[in-house]
């Protein structure tokens, strides 16, 4: 057996308070490249907060206090993101996030991708166009939209919009992807396409996802963390997921 690679993300002793109320308590978690980790848990258990702690997005909300550390392994460098390891802007580019509701901006399809490239990396013209095409191909959207890049992004279907959001993140060349129930607002077929995509993407990226659907979790996850009342109460590895009945039992016991 080969030694597991260095974790890309190592969360340790993470406690997060909102307005004095603990939402996460003493959470420890490691994420590795090539591995898709799924967080499940009842509503209000802190899943989204855990996700947002890895790109420091919790700080966009008032009265948030974070303790503990989140160490990130980036191009041979390693540091705590809560201790000026990276600028906030670079951190959020390197740790991309996709939300539950497809959050396309009311711009053209093209501008949805090129605006962040231009604003955060100063990429315009051919360089931006090249990244745009690469990202859209990566999410298998290129053939569907290549002739209508100037149409409003809102004219795309829900599934296409969500893939566009994923492409927008990938265009910034992240290393970690945070996915907050990325298929929750989609129909069965569109959700299926996103799942296929994630299975492909996990080879290249470190992925942490939140899911409400146990069957989806079983199809996607290499590892499952059950979160309850702000604590990780159970961690399941791939081998526990193969038998649906056993998995169901384990999850139910944990909830």
């Amino acid at each position: 057996m080969i030694a597991p690679p260095e974790p890309t993300v190592a969360v340790s002793g993470l406690t997060i308070h909102f307005a004095g109320k603990a939402v996460l308590e003493e959470v420890n978690l490691t994420l590795r490249r090539g591995q898709l980790t799924v967080i499940v848990g009842p509503s209000g258990s802190g899943k989204t907060t855990l996700l947002r702690s890895i790109n420091r997005l919790n700080e966009c909300f008032p009265y948030c206090r974070t303790e503990g550390s989140v160490r990130l392994q980036l191009d041979g460098r390693n540091g705590n993101i809560y201790e000026d390891f990276l600028s906030l802007a670079e951190l959020r580019r390197r740790v991309g996030m996709v939300f539950q509701t497809p959050a396309v901006l009311p711009f053209s399809i093209r501008k949805n991708l090129t605006m962040p490239l231009g604003v955060t990396l100063g990429l315009t013209g051919a360089a931006a166009a090249e990244r745009l095409e690469r990202a859209l191909r990566e999410v298998s959207l290129w053939d569907e939209v290549k002739d209508r890049l100037n149409d409003p992004a809102s004219t795309l279907s829900g599934g296409q919009q969500q893939r566009l959001c994923l492409a927008r993140v990938l265009a910034l060349e992240p290393q970690v992807l945070l996915l907050d129930e990325p298929t929750a607002s989609l129909d069965f077929r569109a959700a299926g396409r996103i799942e296929e995509l994630l299975l492909k993407l996990k080879e290249k990226y470190t992925i942490l996802a939140v899911s409400h659907s146990l069957s989806e979790t079983r199809r996607l996850a290499d590892r499952v963390c059950v979160l309850r009342e702000g604590r990780i109460v159970k961690e399941l590895e791939r081998q526990h997921l193969s038998d649906p009945a056993v998995f169901q039992q384990l999850i139910e016991a944990a909830f």
Binding site: N55, L57, R92, F99, A103, F107, R110, V119
Partner: protein, 292 residues
């Protein structure tokens, strides 16, 4: 039972909508009936040949041309001051201010919105008095002072509409910018303002309308009946609402009264034109935002 209530409320809503339409139609019809016949070159330019008047070569005495120019300059000047400041204040209140500051400043904005325009006029007048007694003995009321006072008057409309437009942006769109690595200002500039631009426009339109119609402020800050076209920012000026007020109160014959109605129509058209300019401006900005 509830279906009766539903129907009652629905008809009430229809009725309210219809009464707005009816009121506007009646108003326009009445104005048109009394005023259209008096709209001609003489209304605008009196005895002066219009080319000479428009080019500013000869002063206009009997007509409303100077008032049209006066009102137009007043609206443009006060909008140039209050719309950027109002948008910036709205952004501050929603995006930067702490809850406490927001409450305090919000209350002040409401207070400003509730200030009667005559008080704003008095405020401007007092400023001039104070300046005359201190370091600017030559200070007098004029276009700039009136525009600043009007700007104060319309500022709360712009602030409040900007605020509510920004607040109306759902969380999942508000977080997109930061999650992609945009700084707070980049997010405001590139994501939030484009999303709020229609709401901001409606505030600008309200403000323009209010600036064009106000009479009380300018009465005390520099409007004069025969001022002619102001040559500089500190000159006295004429304005359409004041002209209307004057004609309605002091007309010597029915023709002059009809000229008053015609002037009201011109004021409406001018305001409409300004609205149109605001809409076109917003559209062009929006389409640039959407694609580039």
């Amino acid at each position: 039972m509830s279906s009766i209530g539903d129907r009652f409320l629905a008809s009430l809503a229809w009725l309210s909508g219809a009464s707005v339409l009816l009121a506007i139609t009646l108003l326009l019809a009445f104005l048109a009936h009394r005023g259209v016949a008096s709209i001609d070159l003489a209304l605008f330019f009196g005895d002066t040949p219009w080319v000479e008047a428009v080019l500013g070569r000869r002063p206009v005495f009997g007509g409303i041309w100077s008032a049209v120019v006066g009102t137009f300059s007043l609206v443009v000047l006060s909008s140039v001051v209050s719309i950027p400041v109002g948008i910036a204040s709205g952004i501050y209140l929603v995006e930067y201010a702490s809850n406490r500051w927001r409450m305090v400043l919000g209350f002040m904005v409401d207070l400003l919105a509730g200030t009667p325009s005559i008080v704003m006029g008095l405020f401007g007048f007092t400023i001039i008095l104070a300046l005359r007694k201190t370091f600017l003995p030559g200070a007098r009321t004029g276009l700039l002072l009136a525009a600043v006072c009007i700007a104060l008057l319309i500022l709360p409309y712009v602030i409040r509409t900007t605020e509510s437009a920004l607040e109306g942006i759902p969380d999942h769109l508000r977080l997109v910018g930061p999650s992609l690595g945009l700084t707070r200002w980049q997010n405001i500039r590139k994501v939030l303002l484009p999303l709020a631009s229609r709401g901001v426009l409606s505030g600008a339109i309200l403000a323009i309308g209010r600036a064009a119609e106000d009479t009380a402020v300018i009465l005390l800050t520099g409007v004069v009946f025969h001022a002619g076209i102001p040559g500089s920012l500190v000159d006295k000026f004429e304005a359409l609402p004041f002209r209307i007020y004057y004609l309605a109160a002091e007309h010597r014959n029915p023709q002059e009264l009809n000229q008053g109605f015609a002037t009201a129509l011109v004021l409406l058209l001018l305001t409409g034109l300004l609205f149109l300019m605001a809409v076109l401006l917003q559209r062009s900005v929006e389409s640039r935002w959407q694609t580039r």
